[in-house]
Symmetry: D2
Subunit: 394 residues, 4 copies
């Protein structure tokens, strides 16, 4: 169903050379649900304006800071001001930026980890609730159609009771000291102050944890983490291995590494139940393996009518015409934006559209990161149970 | 390099329920190089207007026919009228539509096969030349970065002399008589009058032939085709197997089928040279296999710095973050649109941007389809050599 | 069921440095159904004796020629002489060797192609019938358990009506002129006199044809072959592409090549039916893909209880413990030897044991090779229907 | 190089219905280096004799117990008695059996884990040293050629410094309570008394640990294990996840599970170095992936001349003709038996033949199993460093 009108949005961060800002913009553009009309792209005003020109924005809506943007957009007439903001800055700026916009009643789409501390994340959960805004967090890997189908397979009992989860996320882009060599994206991620005290776990382990939670619905109970810094001079871990205990008895392994030579973006999830298991890899996202005891394995492929409604809802092309990273990212945006549009129009959102990660998911992610860091420091099992603040309304 | 301004375009075809129109629009939207401002979406005026509303077009630029659109857009002031038209109708309408726009000086992006007859295709080649317009044809599979790298590997001699080409394209969506059951896209494709006298070869064999030619640079000399109609009641072939002779001595096999149970969109190209071979599959487009004699095979992956400039030029995301069908489609558009923008701006296009299929490629494709049909009818080897009209200027 | 006693066998060919002789011996040894007790390993008596010593044979049973071996073994008492002979010589020697042993009442296991001419093959079919001996031909790829299951899937209608067969067999070991450089195995294969007038088709195309026939049960009706010699100086084709028509309307493609850079022993069979298709590759022989329309593909794996009896009969290890080339070869031997043992014991063979290629299959193979050569020479479609002589008894 | 004579061996265990006994016998038969001449196959004398008859042994050399066999074989003349014994009993019988034969000067090939306690294993190390016998342990997965090549790649520095090891071994055959249902092989493995106090870790984790150690050469320093019993009623763990610290700073994850639905025998090893990584899977054993930073991944295949001498030494077939489980098992035997033959002949063994797991490796394996069990019980990191007794001579 097409929206009544295209939404308007602004972006904070995503200036020249930033990687993730352009990803967010393309993800929005793909489906045409929203139009970028404002931005505070850079702490450097010249760079900000250059980015605005490249994006063909009205110079008057390219702001020097997120504070200015929040204030001035809020002052615009309703039919003109942005409907939501996309926050794509380094992590330490998420909290003040998001707060500024939420407090002015703007909906928010924010990159992950949502904040650097659990306290900040919880504050945002409560604020979003109080101001009744949609607050989506771009755990984009949950946007893949076959991830949604995996979740449906767990939910409908195809796997039996889930007893084991293996989730891994390996990269090698930080196998050399890029961060010490001035590589912008590496630099802030490796900086304790800006990243929130974790490199690999915060940057990619948080995606892995969200993916496992999204698919299985399981809650962590305890974990034992082994964090290592392999590249000399680095202050934060670039590799982490963890044992997991889930509530209800399931066991798990999570590992993430940014120094695994030859790995590009190898996020993989395996879930084992008492009857069957599933296996999905981000680098080959259009297939999902379902393996049952004493039966042939099944290869499920995106785009087919046999997939769950949530998976079909997240699909644009017929089988065999692969969709990939941008489309998954666009699925997170699609559901969030249709939900925002329903709010804007005063309508009830389609239940299928409510399937996107929220600030409460973000809070769980931050708690996970902090817990892993603590376990690593303490060298042993620690309590990992967590429940974010309960919103006052659905 | 960003364009000086976003181009404006119109679309002919692509009304409600059409598959490929939405693909073209998303491919354009992804990179934001052009904006849709006009359309003649349907022979049914109500459907056309409905589509225009969904796309938020000015109702005055939603036209009842391509003739009206060509005339009225040509009459608009230069800063307002479309820069190019996208033609996404059934095949038999490509020729009159394209002619109308080319003759009025509009650039064209047209779906394939470019026409139903070689004569029409050649007429368009000459017209595009005379009117000095860019005329791109969406052989979209050549837009994949690793296909471009494959081409570079052949060109730089990594394979040695190419001696064998195996290109296959198998689907199963026409394994049942959808066309007789009123399925819109199946119906016109299976209709000799609208498709140009070939079903499987025209619809997908033409992609296979273009892919092989694009990568190897080889010209066909002779072919022997075996065309079969497996689904009762169908007038055109739904399966075709061919032996190929290329100029210079290389041999080949091309097959395409739309009745191959369990196949989705399985386009695969293998090229064997005297030193090495390459292997690429559309359904797993982010990897390319390079196999040399007595050496480990190599798995090349999209996004890496070791790939050829044309492949890197066609890439938006780092390694391991897969790109897929839309992005490949957008690569055909991207190069064509940057070339159009250069023309509009009176500048010389970047050589990397000239890498897109043109109307002359389209003419070769139509000749191939007709030759295959003739060979199938005559049950034997036929001459397949062809050279489209030479443009008067580069 | 263990045999009442271990059979005794002799080998013709398979001297020092020969590849296939050792394969046959290991295939027999694996299951211990027979013991090598005699041999005529080489035309060179010293080499023959050396081989005999290495194999710990009684020097008195290492013969200078197959004629001598046939005569002298026939003269031994029943409890001592060989039960069967394995013939592993170059092709041109198969016929005289096999005839000598069959005429003396010995059972035979012979490498393929069974002879160099159809006439010779037919003569052996009649002789084997007249002398009532078992005559197995080592089309070893039909020995793989999942090939047997594939055959069962076709037979039980899982695929619907078979409409298309794609069988390919690519290697690169003859991509350089090994044959001209004195490589023993290459040399005789490339010699028209010794190989029977075909290189690639005889050596590996015959395996491909048998595999397709074994699995589908389809009979060839017509074919159109394109044979090429890519390596200069070679007299026979090293690459062949063919279009196939099967009785009943199925179509096919068969290709084989020994000059395909980077290919090792890539035999692959795909069979498409009106309901489903199957896909098997010799280099990954423990998996078989079954793909149905609009359903997840299935990955069948060797060793599972869900496989057909013929497949389970050909299995020694549980799932996940891969079996491979030797085991498949041993399966051809296993069935043939158990059938021979039943004959020797005057018992009726187990029907599952009758599943091995016979001299009649060998005759079909030779006819196929000769037909392909003729089509290649005549450059067009030729009649390929063939029925070997009917044995007088089952 | 062929042996001067075929060795003679006896087997303890491996009676009717036993799985692993037949595997050992086939592994020996494949290469014909030894001949089975004696056995104590079963505690049940009738079953033992039945097995002896099936194997065509002299009834006088089918013994009622290992003690009888050791005594009576030792009493035979040198040219008649066995050269070595294969021990394929449940684990708790390995120690007394092995001791009986070692003390009488027989060479030994023993299944794994070599004993149920570290003390017993160390006793065997010392005994084997004192009696100067070859004592091989069938960690058969180290027999795969590409595992040997992986080891060579680590040794020659291709990977740089190894920093991370991921080794996993998943099965599902114990996902149901087979052990409680009288399944013979499951029963003793799940019995603390017979298995040595560990199910999954002892049965398959020990293979995983050996594989990782064999390839990397790294020694464990500490580990943290999480052992779980998922199937109700079972006394021992059927699933285990571990974090590993290696001497020198490398980190690792090892997990094994026999309740992972849909997994057959999925042993996989990944080793990451500072420059490159490697990846091998037992179920697809003929390929090894080598991935370097910023370079195409390489797919190494068995049988090629580019592989290390140890890998080529363990190969019987050319590339593309897959070898598998039996052949790997035969490689352990092959090297051990050639080493035994050299000892028997009073010659120095070929260094390539010394590449097989010994009783000292077995002791390390038992120590690992016990350490994992202890860590699981103590729920935390424990010291895992271990050095078996040093033999008095090489």
């Amino acid at each position: 169903m097409p929206l009544a009108r295209r939404l308007r949005y602004g972006m904070v961060g995503g200036g020249p050379g930033a990687f993730i800002g352009a990803v967010h913009r393309r993800a929005v553009a793909l489906d045409g649900l929203a139009e970028l009309v404002a931005g505070a792209f850079s702490a450097n005003p010249e760079k900000g304006q250059a980015q605005g020109r490249e994006l063909r924005l009205d110079a008057g809506r390219v702001y020097a800071s997120f504070e200015e943007m929040a204030d001035r957009e809020a002052a615009l007439p309703e039919g003109e001001r942005i409907d939501f903001v996309s926050i794509v800055t380094p992590t330490h700026l998420h909290y003040p930026t998001a707060r500024a916009f939420v407090e002015r009643g703007f909906h928010v789409v924010c990159d992950k980890p949502v904040t650097t501390t659990v306290e900040d994340a919880e504050a945002l959960v409560r604020l979003a609730d109080r101001h009744d805004v949609v607050f989506a967090v771009t755990h984009n890997y949950s946007g893949y159609p076959l991830v949604k189908h995996a979740r449906a397979l767990v939910a409908d009992g195809t796997l039996g009771r889930v007893i084991k989860v293996i989730v891994e996320y390996a990269q090698d882009w930080l196998a050399t000291p890029l961060d010490a060599a001035g590589h912008k994206q590496a630099e802030w991620r490796a900086d304790p102050a800006r990243s929130g005290g974790s490199l690999a776990v915060g940057d990619i382990g948080s995606h892995a944890e969200h993916l496992a939670r999204y698919v299985t619905g399981l809650e962590l109970e305890r974990l034992c983490a082994d964090l290592t810094t392999f590249v000399p001079g680095r202050q934060l871990e670039d590799d982490a291995n963890m044992l997991l205990h889930y509530r209800g008895g399931a066991r798990g392994i999570l590992y993430c590494s940014q120094v695994s030579s030859g790995e590009e973006n190898n996020l993989r999830l395996r879930v084992y139940g008492t009857d069957a298991s599933l296996d999905w890899r981000q680098e080959e996202p259009n297939v999902l393996y379902l393996r049952r005891q004493n039966r042939p394995a099944e290869v499920l492929k995106r785009g087919n009518a046999y997939l769950a409604p949530a998976a079909q809802h997240a699909t644009r092309l017929p089988p065999g015409h692969p969709e990939a990273f941008f489309e998954a990212f666009a699925n997170v945006y699609g559901n969030a934006l249709r939900t925002i549009a329903a709010r804007v129009a005063g309508e009830k959102p389609d239940p299928l559209d409510l399937d996107f990660p929220t600030v409460a998911d973000g809070a769980r992610g931050v708690h996970f990161v902090q817990t892993a860091v603590r376990s690593g420091r303490e060298r042993g099992w620690v309590d990992a149970a967590y429940e974010p603040p309960t919103p006052s309304r659905g």
